[in-house]
Symmetry: C2
Subunit: 473 residues, 2 copies
């Protein structure tokens, strides 16, 4: 085992310290500490083009106390800790550029309490969103945040995930009530009380949500829940252009229609979904919408949306009120990433993720599509357009240096374009390694200085997921 | 002027430094620096029983650059800065226990931009919520957070205010998109982009919201707006007991009725409102509710709420669909504090503010009422019960040492009771000076340590509103 650790000397800060830490961890946790190449490599893996940087070891804690002990051992040895949920993050969040210990929450997947009266629940970080919703269904409750992947809720909190429902229910920042977090000093902090609101001090909950493991390791979450709506209706509406679809979205939001989901697919993405999910949608820009409410409320919302769509040249409007039709539709949307990859087998898909004020959305999407076309790369587009957020899957042959170079330049132009429109370089995928270089341009020196000061204050030895989010000092 | 400053030596850290800072400020800002006793005392004033601790000087900036210059001058001299909005905070937030310079935002009250398409606006911190809503009305928009007082929006952000609409629209943490903030180092930080969501780094917006001026001074805010609902209906529903009213509230929230306001008044408060606002409500516990939506949606919500109320023994239910009747009703609710004081002229009103998970609300309210009764003090109760948040106005003769002692002990028992029920000692009034002593019990040592570390990192010389929120090191 020690030799395996030493094999990875190049990436690690201090191979002796790592070996010593792994020895202590193994004494404490036995075969729940794994250093095999296969497992290490799987834990550095990400769904993007960022190269794999495996940790030195992977530990599988079974309780919050285990996590505290792991962090304390690593802190004593100055060894990095990298929290790991399901490995579905897209920007290299779980890589170990300086080596260290990956903490895999696979075995911490218990639902500790459901408080139906308070519409909240208490869970361990390894619970995935599908597991939770399965568990809640019988009680008529659900957790609304849906990033597509069946991610762990700890990971979703750490990366401030959102997805298709965010236009109505917000992002993880709006749906985490409280967390238990092991800090770099080995103490466990509770970020907030379970009351719905509080004005008692700094908002530690929101500080940890989106901090990507750089300030602490989440060991428990209290999440807000929603009642399953009495009625759900979903529909598909084709549009003559992406611009018309964006304008219909703006008008829908402005009219105060409480749409639960409003998703854009461009014509390339529709083609991909038709092929992958065996659908026969018209291959033109399209909005997928969903409404939640009472039967009468959903009917009223649908009607109003239909009028807006028609006004902007969209339609005909097809409704899926049956649960199985809706499921098929959203499954196709969620499979969009794999459908996109199917357009060019063997190519990698570079997922982009900018978000702009909705008034600039049509302009940003149109310019980006023109830019993508000029690169010659296939780049199907989907968007959580109610929030001004959209993704392209840039299909790139990673063996072609030309294509990689072209793709990288495109990514830079896209980030610059979003920033120039008062937008963000990352709407929901987080920063990780991939977006760290854009952060200074997005936030400016004073905010970057504040973030660095907070990181330094809470993690002075930089052991919490180092090399992520903030440029290294 | 210097003599005035020296008169206050006892409270100030260093009277020479203060005198020097005031001299430099006066050179820069002329008669916008005021050191008269009357003005200084008015700027330490709060609406509670906390003794007045006036600043050494008050400055009236006219632009963000002025604020930056004021902070830099104060930082150079190690002199505290205390931001001042309208002085309506309740926990001594604007007192100057260590002396220093109060920054009054009276003249920074411009609405800089309204982006109707994006449902947001950009304002200076001195704009009050009524000024903003007046300005927005013609565009069919409104800003929903309503703490009762016509507070400045800078102050509302700084204290994480909420109020009657929070059950539907959230608190200030949910409605501030971004801020410009002058830090202790004199730099101006922008907390976020204008996009609706982002996962780009630490959530500086939420860190500043509720930080009570202890981390920086807000010089500009970007706020989320809402479309004015097509239909609004408000109603009054009497209940046989506070418990029945609380249970009706729980059932309303659980049923997913998107109630915009649901306010409890106990029988003592109803009596006070009848007398103060010339109403003739039945003197029994009462819910004031309001629904926002389409005409059909509001009708449906009202009907469902009516059924719930009836089920729990409430009613009859009286509706006010006319704007003037609604206004009269909510004016009476907003005047509740003054109405309460009217019950015992000459007495002070100590406003309490706990918030518990809604499942514990009936229990917490009932126990608190029993406790209040045993003190012999009049204590009318109002509650934003949809959030589990309620206030008593404890009517105390501050000249009676016995009453003051009794009141203080009651406040302590109330905080302990809320904490024991997983609640918070301050739902929306903030910490300031009054609640600082409860914070360690609420958050525990690790979270308190994290807050102290953040404060130390961003304000190492402790010049930003010192003596508030965190116990002094």
């Amino acid at each position: 085992m020690a030799s395996l650790v030493q094999d990875k000397v190049s990436g690690s800060r201090n191979s002796k310290a790592v070996a010593a830490a792994v020895q202590v961890l193994t004494a404490a946790f036995g075969n729940r500490v794994v250093t095999s190449n296969a497992v290490r490599e799987q834990h550095g893996n990400t769904l993007t083009w960022i190269p794999n940087q495996p940790p030195d070891a992977v530990v599988f804690p079974q309780a919050a106390e285990d996590v505290q002990q792991i962090v304390r051992i690593c802190a004593q040895h100055g060894v990095p800790v990298i929290p790991y949920g399901t490995g579905t993050s897209l920007e290299g969040h779980i890589n170990a550029p300086q080596g260290g210990v990956s903490i895999d929450f696979r075995d911490m997947n218990r639902i500790l309490a459901v408080h139906a009266e308070d519409l909240d629940c208490v869970i361990e970080p390894g619970v995935t969103r599908k597991m939770l919703n399965e568990h809640l269904r019988d009680q008529g409750l659900f957790f609304p945040i849906d990033p597509g992947a069946d991610a762990s809720l700890g990971g979703m909190a750490a990366t401030r995930a959102s997805g298709t429902n965010a236009v109505r229910y917000g992002t993880m920042k709006d749906n985490v009530l409280s967390m238990k977090v092991v800090l770099a000093n080995g103490e466990t902090m509770i970020t907030s009380r379970r009351a719905r609101k509080s004005s008692a001090g700094y908002d530690l909950t929101r500080l940890i949500v989106g901090s990507e493991g750089t300030l602490g390791v989440i060991t428990e979450l209290t999440l807000k829940l929603q009642g399953i709506p009495e009625a759900i209706a979903a529909g598909i509406c084709p549009f003559p252009s992406v611009e018309a679809a964006c304008n219909a979205t703006i008008l829908t939001i402005q009219s105060g229609i409480p749409v639960a989901r409003i998703e854009l697919l461009d014509e390339v993405q529709v083609r991909a979904c038709n092929a992958y999910s065996k659908l026969d949608l018209p291959e033109t820009p399209m909005l997928l919408v969903e409404f939640h409410g009472t039967a009468a409320g959903v009917a009223e919302q649908s009607e109003r949306f239909g009028e807006i769509a028609k006004e902007l040249g969209g339609g005909p409007f097809e409704w899926a009120t049956k649960a199985e039709d809706r499921t098929r539709l959203w499954q196709a949307r969620h499979d969009g990433y794999w459908a996109a990859r199917g357009l060019r087998p063997g190519a990698s898909a570079l997922a982009t993720d900018v978000c702009v004020p909705i008034s600039r959305l049509a302009e940003c999407v149109t310019e980006t599509q023109r830019d993508a076309k000029e690169t010659g790369l296939l780049a199907p587009l989907v968007g959580h357009v109610g929030d001004g957020n959209f993704h392209l899957s840039l299909l790139v042959d990673m063996d072609s240096q030309d294509e990689v170079k072209t793709a990288k330049k495109f990514l830079e132009r896209l980030a610059e374009r979003a920033l120039a429109m008062e937008g963000t370089c990352t709407g929901e995928h987080g920063v990780g390694q991939g977006k760290a270089k854009y952060l200074p341009a997005e936030h400016g020196p004073a905010a970057m200085g504040a973030m660095q000061a907070i990181k330094q204050a809470l993690d002075p030895n930089n052991i919490m997921n180092p090399g992520k989010m903030l440029p290294e000092a």
